[in-house]
């Protein structure tokens, strides 16, 4: 960070790169679901890139994250290689989880990603555990968990927040409030404001009102990370954002649960467009630099798709590995 608190240009360009990676990766993945190239479905982070990347880039090497079903953005935000991620979505041997996880269950220890969880809320205490080990082993690490406004109504979050608070663990609870859990508007099933729930658990709760501005997200999470690393304990950060697409690709909901005005308002706040404009307005980059970044990422994403499609399927025997660390005899698994 510069003396005036502003981020280095390179960091801000990297933010754009990572946001673009998420956008283009997810757009591509969506098409591949439609074409049957990706089995099952995927949940895209399109529209939420600032919230994801702003949070991830406020962490340091060695820190840990856990995530949820809206999963690709988190490892990408931490800097994952795209190839093994896409190969995982396709179910290939070269997948980051050997083809055994799929979209919902990405993990990439290389960048500190302990794993996404298809069960909402379920990975929250895992991050608390990573904070616990950091404290006992005195390793100066921080752990962050991502979860949605829907998951914010699950009890395990409050158990986890309380535990982290009582033990002053270096944990950040990052709520991605995109206003909906599947077809359910948050306000219809949520008493009070999520950020206001922190205080009663003895920790600060902050809300980033405009989660489409990556610097706002980054600043809030950086402060939480500093607090965590200093030993002062956890923070709950609620980021207000919006998903531009349907809950999951291919899902059709026959009720108009999000109205057009709202959708238009939010899609007009595209985090990638906004950040690009800021960089240009502030004279930190010109349009051609930004275009070059865009092309560079486009190529990267095309390459990851090729890598995925060209990779071999996992050997059937791989299905019987990794359950335990002990060698397990295939014959034994009946």
């Amino acid at each position: 960070m510069a003396l005036d608190g502003s981020l280095p240009v390179e960091t801000r360009l990297e933010m754009q790169r990572r946001m673009l990676r998420i956008r283009l990766f997810d757009e591509r993945a969506s098409k591949m679901v439609k074409r049957g190239q990706i089995p099952g479905t995927v949940h895209t982070s399109i529209g939420q890139e600032a919230q994801v990347v702003g949070a991830c880039m406020a962490l340091q090497t060695g820190d840990h994250i856990t995530g949820n079903h809206r999963s690709h953005g988190h490892p990408i935000g931490m800097g994952s290689d795209l190839g093994p991620l896409m190969a995982e979505l396709v179910g290939k041997a070269t997948g980051v989880c050997r083809g055994k996880g799929g979209s919902l269950h990405l993990a990439d220890r290389a960048v500190g990603s302990l794993g996404e969880s298809g069960i909402t809320g379920s990975s929250i205490p895992i991050a608390v555990g990573a904070g616990f080990s950091a404290q006992v082993l005195n390793e100066g690490r921080v752990a962050m968990c991502f979860f949605g406004d829907g998951a914010a109504n699950q009890g395990v979050l409050y158990e986890a927040m309380n535990l982290a608070s009582a033990w002053k663990l270096p944990v950040i609870f990052l709520c991605e409030n995109n206003h909906y859990a599947l077809s359910t508007p948050a306000h219809t099933v949520t008493g009070g404001r999520i950020c206001d729930r922190a205080q009663g658990f003895g920790m600060p709760g902050v809300r980033v009102e405009n989660g489409q501005e990556i610097l706002d997200v980054h600043a809030a999470v950086a402060e939480a990370a500093e607090r965590a690393r200093s030993g002062a304990g956890p923070t709950l950060v609620e980021v207000m954002t919006y998903r531009f697409r349907e809950h999951s690709e291919g899902l059709r909901i026959n009720v108009d649960y999000r109205n057009v005005d709202e959708r238009e308002l939010w899609t007009s706040r595209d985090p990638i467009v906004l950040h690009r404009a800021h960089l240009i307005d502030e004279g930190l980059a010109d349009a051609s630099t930004m275009d070059a970044i865009q092309s560079e990422i486009e190529e990267e994403v095309e390459a990851c798709v090729r890598f995925a499609l060209d990779s071999p399927d996992p050997d059937p025997a791989v299905a019987f590995e990794d359950l335990y660390t002990d060698a397990y005899d295939l014959e034994d698994v009946k």
């Binding site: 089995p39 829907g150 026959n254 009720v255």
Partner: protein
Amino acid sequence: MSIMTYIAAIGAAQEEAMVADDRVVVIGEDVEANVYGTTGGGKERAEQGDFVQRFGRSRVRNTPIAEEAIVGCAIGAAMTGLRPIVDLSYSSFLYMAMDQFVNQAAKNRYMFGGQSSIPAVFRSAMFYSLSTGAHHSDRPYPMFMGVPGLKVMAPASASDAKGLLRQAVDSEDPVLTFEAVPLWGAKEEVQDGEYRIPFGQARTRREGGDVTLVAISGSVPVALKAAEKMAGTGVECEVIDPRTLVPLDTKTIVESVMRTGRLVIAEPAHRTCGAAAEIAAVVAEEAYSSLKAPIRRVCARDMQVPFSPALEEQIYPTTERIVAAIEAVTRD
């Protein structure tokens, strides 16, 4: 009679129950928008059949994502005058509410000496064989079979799904229904109007005198295919679907094995401590003297479920694995 899919049959039973009794309510995540296809007839809310329009938001309610509270709330409501149907969507989410199932739903009536009963239905669907990955592919019904106080049903066809669900809503005790998503689209002739299928009565899907083939949930059609194949080689299988697992119709199974002397059991749950283990144990005790061959189980292998389609299918019972088991027990 009309032809109906498995999923439509569930919706129909639910609708009939809502119409028949004002105390029946449906709660769950995303039930208002009919995301899982059992709370509305048409594609658009305006079309006929939408539960919210027909029954109102007091009786059809979206819940927060909070399985433990949802299940507990349904139990408390059932104890005090309602007859809730809880849509938990994926069976994989039941673990979140395990304490409520085991410590409240199953135990309350007993430990309070019968002061309250709990007429609640907990619906959940087993998504598997659909590339949904380890977190969304569970088939956890055996866990609940071992919890006295719960009733457990696992229909394998449209007509059974409808008649059993209706019976479940009528039950004064908590019922867990495990629906098989691979069968959602499977069609069957279904009786028109209201009907109920009593719990604890197996359905013999095919008669045969050589081997008893007990199959559960999504394994029933697979078993029927295997039986068909074996018939071609002159081996006649009697295919029995228990339909409800608690209570379990051991009588029909034991009687069949007494005739055939051979037993193969197929089910989509893990092998260890599954329903097949229970059935094998019952038969090894009660039909021992008639047994002419080892009892074979064809279950999901004791692995978690891998995502890649190149890996997943081998986890579950396939026609080939069932055929191999039948061949093995007839060889002896």
